[in-house]
Symmetry: C2
Subunit: 680 residues, 2 copies
């Protein structure tokens, strides 16, 4: 009988004739063993480790002569680049006798990338674009097919690719003839396989065997910030991240202001489209430079965004999204050429995938959160809130998922806050206030020290203390409430009422001084009454959205809460609970998922099946429209207070011993302040 070949860790096994290359055996058994060059000893991706000795578990004994001896290809490879001890090239080593072969993770194509922070989900690598090395027949005057046709035949022959519907851009086609001749009739092609409908497509061609790597961008296009992750399409690793403010802010801070801008200004939507596309191009340039790669190596981009950003990115006037029935121009996922979006800072033929929208107010970002957090697979009832300028809210379990969005405004992202800024080095991100002394301490992004600790000054010397970001303002307001600096209605007490000189009069209201950097030429950072009101509006909107979904499911409580958002990793569940951002839930069942929308984008970037999965999932999600639901307004008004000092909330009271204060500055004044705000 032919020798037995057993692969680990898969456990797949089969008998193969003496002389069969290990790569061939792996392919026949469907073992996940990589190869770009198709077994020609060029790419070294198919490295394997043979094991020798007794394997009672497998029932074999492996002689140390079980594989062929090193051949010249392996010797040369080891000499030039070095082969780790014990490793062989799977395409060169052939079977002699029974053998056990281990496939190390880096030789697996579909290796899984475990997410770091909230490691609840693995990403199996199956990107839409991959590299193939191929050797092409030379032209023959008597069989006058074109170079492209011979390349297609070679791809079909050497890689079993269905090339019937294979397409190639003219720009790439114009480089094919020189590449084939320079590579001596061998090329490496970047081949894109789209969704089931569209055929394969050649995105790029390099002469001979190309050593480079392909990258993709996962972009979370928010109303306020644009965040991009550059991922290695071979292993899913995020090699670089970068973010910029969305330049559309100058046309309106929230979505509805931008829709209004488009309605009031002819061509206004085109202006906003051009602005956001230019920002994405700049971001792509920045991220490629930071990672020291060529823009040409970026062959894929996945976008997640809310519906208004979605339409503005696509160049569609968002006017219909500003009025009932909030009709999307298109709700399905989109596969596009990057160049259709004027994205020119990546490969000329780069492909774009945009996740589907759930509804006119619940966008591809919510779909991405669903892909990342999978409420549709949850055993218990989970509330997922993605906190941004618009909050995306998902509630459900494996039986049913509801979704809505809520217009929280940009306060949670540090905008419309007196000292607010984007989360960047120098921004205050953590705040604690001593309930007795009313003195604050804080941490800034880029330093591990609290402001009261030794070493803080040194650690922040370069960045300075520049402002307060979204998670910082949430903690500041919650801590102010917990320390009795703010009453249940949200009013900041005076120095006399609160007993701290940090309560400073500011017009007819007060503000709380967090940090005075004026002596060093830095800013004075305080929390004003306006800041509190902005946070109250934002948290009320968020809470009301969640309540609305709970009403729809006829439930008074949820089993767990997942906090997500561009700054989601940094939101403290405790402080979110004090603020009343989220409904009642055991505190230990509140987790942060980080940038779940961005994670969803990364998953869709790395795995084609995930695209099909989310396209299917969004069909099942039931959407609730907050804008026309009277109960949303009721919940919103009721949620304005910060109730927890009086709320029946034993668990929370254990965590934060809330004083029950009320500042008698007169309802007129507070009311007047609100009215002024509305006029402003």
């Amino acid at each position: 009988m032919d020798p037995l070949v057993i692969f680990t860790p898969s456990g797949k096994r089969g008998h193969f004739a003496v002389g069969t290359p290990i790569l061939t055996a792996a392919r026949q058994l469907g073992v996940d063993l990589d190869s770009v060059c198709g077994g020609r000893g060029i790419c070294s991706k198919c490295q394997i480790t043979p094991s020798f000795g007794e394997f009672p578990k497998h029932g074999v004994k492996v002689a140390d002569t079980a594989l062929s001896e090193w051949n010249s290809v392996e010797e040369r490879y080891d000499r030039v680049r070095g082969l780790k001890t014990g490793r062989r090239l799977g395409c060169q080593a052939t079977v002699r006798t029974d053998v056990v072969i281990d496939v190390p993770p880096e030789s697996q194509v579909h290796k899984q990338v475990v997410r770091k922070a909230a490691a609840e989900r693995d990403i199996t690598m199956d990107p839409a674009t991959r590299l193939y090395y191929v050797e092409v027949a030379e032209p023959d005057m008597h069989v006058p097919t074109g170079d492209l046709e011979r390349l297609k035949a070679a791809l079909a022959d050497q890689w079993e690719i269905d090339t019937d519907a294979l397409r190639i851009d003219l720009n790439v086609l114009s480089t094919l003839q020189p590449a084939l001749r320079k590579g001596d009739w061998a090329v490496t092609v970047a081949l894109h396989k789209g969704n089931q409908d569209s055929g394969e497509r050649i995105l790029d061609v390099w002469p001979g065997y190309w050593e480079g790597r392909l990258y993709g961008l996962a972009i979370d296009l928010g109303s306020t910030t644009i965040a991009a992750h550059l991922c290695d399409l071979r292993n899913g690793q995020v090699v670089e991240s970068a973010g910029v403010m969305n330049p559309q802010i100058r046309f309106g801070e929230d979505l509805m202001s931008r829709v209004s801008y488009a309605m009031m200004n002819p061509g206004g939507d085109k202006e906003m489209t051009a602005a956001v596309r230019a920002a994405i191009n700049a971001l792509a340039v920045e991220i490629a430079e930071a990672a020291a790669i060529e823009p040409r190596q970026i062959v894929e981009t996945v976008f997640v965004c809310n519906p208004v950003m979605h339409h503005l990115l696509l160049g569609i006037d968002p006017v219909e999204l500003g009025q009932a029935p909030f009709a999307l121009a298109t709700s399905d996922s989109l596969a596009l050429d990057a160049i259709e979006l004027d994205l020119n800072a990546m490969n000329n033929a780069a492909q774009v995938y945009i996740l589907p929208c759930i509804a006119g107010h619940v966008g591809a970002d919510a779909a991405a959160v669903a892909l990342s957090e999978e409420p549709n697979k949850s055993e218990d009832l989970v509330l997922v809130v993605d906190v941004g300028t618009n909050a995306e809210i998902l509630l459900g379990d494996k039986t049913r998922v509801l979704a809505c969005s809520s217009p929280t405004g940009p306060a949670f992202e540090g905008a419309q806050i007196s000292s607010g800024q984007r989360a960047a080095p120098g921004a205050i991100e953590r705040v604690e206030i001593d309930p007795v002394t009313k003195e604050p301490r804080f941490k800034v992004i880029g330093s591990d020290f609290w402001s009261t600790e030794e070493g803080f000054a040194e650690a922040t010397a370069v960045t300075g203390i520049t402002g307060i970001c979204g998670s910082g303002i949430i903690e500041a307001v919650a801590e102010m409430r917990a320390a009795g600096l703010v009453d249940a209605s949200g009013l900041i007490g005076s120095a006399a009422q609160t007993g701290t000189e940090r309560s400073l009069p500011e017009g007819r209201t007060h503000s709380y001084l967090l940090h005075d950097g004026s002596a060093e030429g830095g800013p004075v950072i305080s929390v004003t009454q306006g800041d509190i009101r902005a946070i109250q509006l934002a948290k009320s909107a968020l809470y009301a959205g969640a309540r609305l979904l709970m009403d729809e499911l006829e439930t008074e409580s949820v089993d767990r809460v997942v906090l997500a958002g561009a700054f989601g990793a940094h939101i403290s569940p405790k402080h979110a609970m004090i603020l009343g951002m989220i409904p009642d839930c055991p505190l230990d069942r509140v987790t942060s998922a980080g940038n779940a929308a961005g994670t969803g984008a990364r998953i869709a970037l790395c795995n084609r099946a995930a695209r099909a999965e989310i396209e299917e999932t969004v069909q099942q999600i039931h959407k609730v429209e907050t804008a026309i639901e009277p109960r949303f307004q009721e919940h919103f008004v009721a949620a304005n207070a910060m109730p927890h000092a009086s709320a029946p909330f034993p668990e929370l009271r254990k965590v934060v011993d809330l004083p029950d204060v009320a500042f008698n500055t007169g309802g007129d004044k507070a009311g007047g302040g609100r009215r002024r705000r509305r006029r402003g």
Copy 2:
């Protein structure tokens, strides 16, 4: 039993319940009855004519009450636009009793367009792009699909279109929402169905029912001239034709000079690509203006061209086509977006189809000739020559077809001729020379009179007599030979030798004065010795190519000859024979096919199946490479003379009584002339 409905001319028949609309009956029987609005009484495309009385042939007697009475839709239509006597709207008229229904040609979708001149082939209308009127569901906040998704559902529902892979350009998508609202949730869409691989695609959207028509351009992109036909995609009619000189001529008159230009000048190919694309855009603008249509109505363009023009149009450096093995970058047909070729003078989403190339020297123009003339279906052995700057030559029958191309140069198109010009009003196109008086008479394009006839002066008053075009120079040289003005070697005799004062000395040679317009400020048009030499070189190349294919088939004669070319309709078979352009063949078996390549382009424009057919056919055509075949040179040299005065050619001698003359001006001089020419 239900009433019997019989359709003519198809003869299809069936029984249908009383009240069934005629359109419904037609659809169920598969009768070719048009409808754009889907039976809503809007488009009036489904007009039919009921016949009344006895029909012994069909075995029925039709009462004049066989159909329902006119309804309000038909009355309104007749009032507003007028319905021809006897006509009904097939979607409104319903069955009452047995009836015979005639479907007039204009109500047939797949009506056949009979080609005029060489009416050997009908074109069945089945264009890739058609209009569909569709009524779309309004958006519903509670079922939040996008407008596009509801349009797709409506297309699937109302037109049974598979919309799974339906694509739409972002530019079109951005117009969808306003169009749906303006059209009160009805739109007319232009839907493109590509080859089997690619799905349907929405090219454009108009609000409500759109009355307009769609057009396509069939473009014959020659080395010297670019000819375009604007075709109505509903009926195949050519509504406008136009042509321009190929601006690439400034980079080189023939193909090899252009390849050389690209080799010698970095970026030279890009220059030539930009020039030809600009010329096509200008041509599209001109033709749309002449036809008084919007550029937006041009939704399809089909190109036929030789391989060098093919590559330069696509933006591919043609350098490989200038050297063995003459490798094409791509040989298969191409389906592209017009915008990929920078064609911006048509619909933004217009589609381009380029016929496949047969080989590195035998292009899509030869494929188009094959599609038009169908040598592969011929019972007898047919030689098809497409005369242009490069001659495409096909030889074969239904068992086997060979192809080659031959570098004739631009002389046949009037270039490199002293008084040569493009075929346009004012150009001499026909020439006769009296063998006794040696006096010429001629016709110019735009006039029906011979120059010796009364009325000629008036008829040419506007255009003038500006030069001589390709067919004119062929006839002039052949007539000069027949009249004894030129000897078998191609030498023009002196006045003394020829007996006419029209033989004028010109350096060491002579020229023949055809027309002296200098008195009226016009040009002096004569045939110079250089012109004769250019025609000799061109005709030798053409003849040698044909001979080479005959050698390959081991035949000494062909059964028939088809002369094609941009000016092919105007070539006189008699004169082509005198010149020795084509091999021996009975004169009555030589026919002119007109612009067969252009006809092939029109066929591919009007009929999707023809595209698949020619893609299949070119695979079967065996290509012979003239450039590396020593026998081609032998044939070429042997064919230089104009032999017919001495050739054993009884049929031809009957037609033209050729004098057998030879001018003793000395071989040195003639040879010197040739040598000079080569140095020039």
